[in-house]
Amino acid sequence: MSAHSHPGVLPPHPESATLEGRNKLMGFWLFLGGESVLFGCLFATFLGLRGHSDDLLAKNPAEFFDLTTVAWSTVILLVSSLTSVLAILGMHKRNTKQIYLWFTVTVLLGLSFLGLEIMEFSNYTNHDSFHFTQTAYASSFYTLVGFHGAHVLFGTLWISLLLLQLTRKGLTVVTAPKLYVAALYWHFVDLVWVFIFTVVYLMGKVA
């Protein structure tokens, strides 16, 4: 059961070299399964409530949704998925520098995404009087997109913490699974955004 690590000799797939590591990977995949149901229910809520409160809004969201900003957010988040892959490739090459570099870029991209989202939300509330408590559509919009935003925030904090640990502990069979599942998490959060971009914004524009 124990994680016997021999310094300097890291196996090719350090994330699944120990039972603990394999448990962590398996558990995290399952957790993402549960998260899918969670976001699925939030999407269902959003789709179910959309169109029931149009006349209650001051302006139709289709008029003020800022697709340019959202498109940039999408590009940023998708690129951050790529950079997290580069970090994991670095891990498999036992290249700690590459992990630092690409995960730092990932975190920075995540933070820029959050910045754009905060800017977007404050525009909606300040200029378009589109508030959380206004209608069921607004509540479900902010809940769905906000839940995703909270996931991005958690991801940036988590990956930053793991990078600090990497400095102290180095790349071992204990730290490798953590980095690996954090990258999995990041992909999942990006994937959810693809659906939000499509279902909320693109379909919202044409509706």
Binding site: M1, S2, L19, R22, N23, M26, G27, L30, F31, G33, G34, E35, V37, L38, C41, L42, A44, T45, G48, L49, H52, S53, L56, F132, T133, Q134, T135, A136, Y137, A138, S139, S140, T143, W158, L161, L162, Q165, K169, V174, K178
Partner: protein
């Protein structure tokens, strides 16, 4: 480094334990206490309905009745039945697959403490402005701010905290069963209880996020003025019903499948026969779990979704009768020609079969939408789900409790008292609920606090209340049995029932590390195979070596406590009761308490991430001492 870890004793041992067997005992004790709460609530409900037009609780009888039925349902489902299942899963599953612990022992402790604090939070509502009163299903709009008291806030936050614990518990058992099986323990050699726990955990994983969302929406509506269920704001009350039942229907299979597993183990052991149709049993369990996700609309036939939707969901529901029927026949054929021993455990298992068949039959009746329009919201429904949940789940859990008590506590429960308790429970149960089928068919509505004289409901209600009292007697006998047993010396043999599965291969109670050497499994009913081959025990799959164990930790307790405190912080925001003092008012209004509680939880996660648990090793000498003591 390893070895320097402090091993606590006494109370600190229980607060810091990450041992699945101790966590199982903690689950069992808490479930027992909540079960008594729910039982007292049930008796009060029945006493109020003893005679027509009573006002047992004075002027506010109707209000208090609403609180009692809500708390009875919520407590029994989430805080008695669920933890009973997790108690037995914790105590037994790792032993049955030949593992030393679950995959994530620390997370396992966190699961327990989250469940416990969620339950405590819910029950403090009695003291803080009234219990929830919108029914255990908390249908909107009844559960929105306009139509219910502050009790529903306790419902929302209590269930959210406990649900989080259940969700991570489900993940834990899935990983444990997939990754931690002993050498040779293939999937198709796993005992049926482990299989049932596996499928149940999968259902937990995919069902609980749905109620998480439902509770989040309701919480946002109640605390932050969102509009999800406010029709005037474009909200939709049927949305709650959909999400609740997308969770709620799998939840009833989460409850019943482990009972199916226990019945399979107990009937096979006490019939001295291998389980009939093992493969079909596994298949039926998985199929029930799968179909359980596509039948939720049968709770909503009268909502008006249209004949097509109703027909599709009616047919999907009827399909579930097929795998369930397979199970019933397999159990009967397991007993057929067997050398049956009538112990308390096997009596509950045998009593389960006809009782659950009645519950299943009324289930098929309710499946027919035209008939359901007549049955819905009547005592017929109450009778049906008590036949499946008490007659199914509770009979199964009690059977498992008598069966595994020696393995959990090292003591044998008294058989005579167990049998007395069984007969009181069996007769009392059928007296309480059988008559309710007719009360329902005669038109008595559920969830109404009283009834008029002269409408033909007197006799039925009278009999039903007497039956409930008999069940109360049974529980008192059972409690005396437990107390008397626990005062005796722990001298249960390792294998008191001539068992067939791995848990009976090790001492009662199991040592901290379960298996000194992991066993090599050579087939289904692993221990039985070795017995038949003339071996004294399991053949070890590894040499005797020191055993690595995870360290105990107080953090799971602290983290759950953090969320518990945050719950009050969220709830009392802007509530006049909490704002009589200026400082307290400031703290609540600005979510300072809520933020502090959540911060404790997040800080706990931070510590867990930064400090790696090195664990400790149990030396070979200690294992030798244990083995000599049990020799």
């Amino acid at each position: 480094m390893a070895g320097a870890v402090k091993r606590y004793s006494g109370l600190m041992d229980w607060l810091t334990t990450v041992d699945h067997k101790k966590i199982g005992i903690l689950y069992l004790i808490s479930a027992g206490i909540f079960f008594l709460f729910g039982g007292v609530e049930a008796l009060l409900i029945r006493l109020q309905l003893f005679f027509p037009e009573q006002n047992l609780f004075g002027e506010n009888t109707a209000e208090i009745f609403n609180q009692l039925i809500t708390m009875h349902g919520t407590t029994m489902i989430f805080f008695a039945a669920m933890p009973l299942i997790f108690a037995l899963m914790n105590a037994i599953v790792p032993l049955q697959i030949g593992a030393r612990d679950v995959a994530f022992p620390y997370v396992n402790a966190l699961s327990f403490w989250l469940f416990l604090f969620g339950g405590v939070l819910l029950n403090t509502s009695y003291l803080l402005g009234g219990a929830p009163d919108a029914g255990w299903t908390a249908y909107a709009a009844l559960s929105t701010k306009a139509y219910s008291g502050s009790g529903v806030d306790f419902y929302v936050l209590g269930l959210q905290i406990a649900g989080l614990g259940t969700l991570i518990g489900g993940i834990n058992f899935l990983v444990t069963i997939i990754n931690m099986r002993a050498p040779g323990m293939t999937f198709m050699r796993m005992p049926l209880f482990t299989w049932a726990s596996f499928v149940t955990s999968a259902l937990v994983l995919f069902a609980f996020p749905a109620i998480t969302v439902a509770l989040v929406l309701l919480m946002f509506d109640r605390l932050f003025n969102a509009q999800f269920f406010e029709v005037a704001g474009g909200g939709n009350v049927v949305l709650w019903e959909h999400i609740f039942w997308i969770f709620g229907h799998p939840e009833v299979y989460i409850l019943i499948l482990p009972a199916f597993g226990i019945i399979s183990e107990v009937l096979s052991t006490f019939s001295h026969k291998r389980l009939f149709g093992y493969g079909t049993m596994v298949f039926a369990t998985a199929l029930i779990g799968f179909l359980g996700f596509m039948v939720w609309v049968h709770h909503m036939f009268t909502v008006g979704l249209g004949p097509i939707a109703n027909a599709i969901f009616a047919i999907a529901t009827m399909l579930i009768a097929v795998p369930t029927g397979i199970k019933i026949f397999n159990w009967l054929l397991t007993m057929w020609g067997g050398h049956i021993r009538f112990t308390a455990a096997s009596l509950y298992a045998i009593g389960f079969i006809p009782t659950f068949v009645i519950g299943g039959m009324t289930g098929i009746m309710l499946t027919l939408p035209p008939a359901d329009f007549q049955f819905q919201d009547s005592y017929f429904v109450v009778a049906h789900f008590h036949y499946t949940i008490v007659g199914g789940l509770i009979f199964g859990m009690f059977s498992g409790m008598y069966y595994w008590w020696p393995k959990m506590f090292g003591r044998m429960l008294n058989e005579t008292m167990g049998k007395i308790s069984f007969w009181f429970f069996f007769v009392g149960f059928h007296m309480t609920f059988f008559i309710q089928h007719w009360l329902g068919l005669d038109g008595m509505p559920r969830r109404v606090y009283t009834y008029l004289a002269g409408q033909g409901f007197e006799k039925g209600n009278f009999i039903s209340t007497i039956g409930a009292m008999l069940m109360g007697v049974s529980i008192i006998v059972m409690m005396i049995n437990i107390i008397v047993t626990q005062m005796k010396k722990a001298d249960a043999p390792a294998d008191p029932w001539d068992g067939r599965t791995l848990e009976w291969a090790i001492s009662s109670p199991a040592p901290e590390y379960n298996f000194a050497q992991l066993p090599r499994v050579r087939g289904l009913d692993a221990l039985w195979i070795e017995k038949m081959a003339g071996n004294k025990g399991m053949i070890p799959a590894e040499p005797l070596a020191e055993i690595h164990m995870p360290s105990p930790s107080i953090m799971p307790f602290v983290k759950a406590l953090g969320l518990f405190i945050a719950g009050y912080g969220f709830m009392f925001n802007g509530n006049t009761k909490a704002t009589s003092l200026p400082v307290v008012g400031f703290v609540f209004e600005h979510y300072i308490l809520a933020a502090a509680g959540v911060a404790v939880f997040l800080f706990g996660m931070f510590l867990r991430s930064v400090y790696d648990d090195q664990g400790f090793h149990i030396p070979i000498e200690e294992i030798h001492v244990d083995q000599e003591e049990n020799a």
